[in-house]
Symmetry: none
Subunit: 130 residues, 4 copies
């Protein structure tokens, strides 16, 4: 199944709804199966620098078909993927990037940035299931 604009916008709306519940201000990015940007919103008052991070989290998740935090565990000093962040014009490997699936098929990814990584991940997970 393709990640349609309608579906992407629903995911963004779900992320906004969850962010408001948590009283946080997020940058929200959705990419499709080709890791190309599909939808983006910066909530009012959200960090300017988190726009690029949200987009990079979404791309990173789809680039490697795993949530960003999983990659970050391996990219630490001494780890097997140390400094993988230098590839692909910059990866972000801490939590907040989550795959979007249709059943078992990966159809895209969402990246959230604007609060603690725990909140970023929570909003991303919630919205990816929307």
């Amino acid at each position: 199944m393709e990640l349609t604009t309608q579906k992407a916008q629903q995911i963004v709306e779900a992320a906004i709804k969850k962010s408001k519940e948590l009283d946080v201000k997020m940058n929200i990015a959705v990419v499709d199966a080709g890791a190309n940007l599909k939808s983006f919103v910066r909530m009012d008052g959200a960090w300017l620098g988190s726009a690029d991070i949200a987009i990079k989290k979404a791309k990173t998740a789809r680039y490697f078909d795993m949530n960003t935090g999983e990659i970050g565990k391996l990219s630490q000093p001494g780890g097997s993927l140390f400094n993988i962040e230098h590839s692909n014009d910059g990866l972000i490997t801490f939590p907040g990037g989550v795959l979007i699936k249709d059943g078992n098929e990966i159809i895209g990814a969402i990246g959230i940035s604007g609060s603690s990584v725990e909140n970023d991940h929570e909003v991303a997970t919630y919205a990816s299931n929307a």
Copy 2:
């Protein structure tokens, strides 16, 4: 007046509506007064390469406080601004980037890419007035 998320999303929705009327598939980008990305949508089937163009059109319009096509008239070979496109990590200077105003105040810009420059400009103009 600040360009709020709500306003930015209304502008995106207006651009989608106009694009459907014209039967074209667009990438739509909105930046705020600081030229920072606020909202983005790629319509189903729209060109992948137009995502970056839409974003650059919106930024270019706000960078110089004029519609992108106006800059393009001056950046031709022999023109006074020849090759200005090499600045700011890449400008796009053909039509499709239009300012968003609140009265006389510039509060952001919209960039549209995905069809002819005439259609791009028409959708951008329509949405900027939404």
Copy 3:
């Protein structure tokens, strides 16, 4: 309140004055609320490479609305924001980037680079309050 040129230049002058008191040679950068460069000075004899660092410190502070050293505490190996520096075309996350406020409103940021991070931060803090 907008960060005017006059205000930005006063902040730069305050940074130069404090730097001379400390007998250090600094690069000084001021960005506005949109994280766009407003003023810059490299003092005589200051490190060439610190020009880019000062600009990146100012942008980084405004990108995340906190002093740069705060981000650096979280971006260490094993930290929650490890390698965040790869975003936004390069962040600088050690001390020396400080917010500029008008009351509670963030109107910009200053970045200082050219000495120890303690001195960088001291000059930035002094000038941001000027």
Copy 4:
């Protein structure tokens, strides 16, 4: 003679004074003999996108030890330096970048951007002689 901070700031002030006389809003950049940024100011209301252009004009002039408009004559289609703008992370080759000399010695360059290229060049020439 070295282009000191004091001298650079005097040049910037002269550029601001001339800009106000012409009722234009400029971005003003000064580089030293090493083509490294020494001073920068964006006047209130000046175009955001002209910051990078002003810096690139100053660097371009010093890179090739001639005013930017001279290079632009050679970089046109069919010209001997066609598309030289692709080098050095982006050159700007229309008028507004002018050398700063001490007698016959080139000690730096100034770049001005924010109005017509005629005004940009006039302000740059005036300030470079200050």
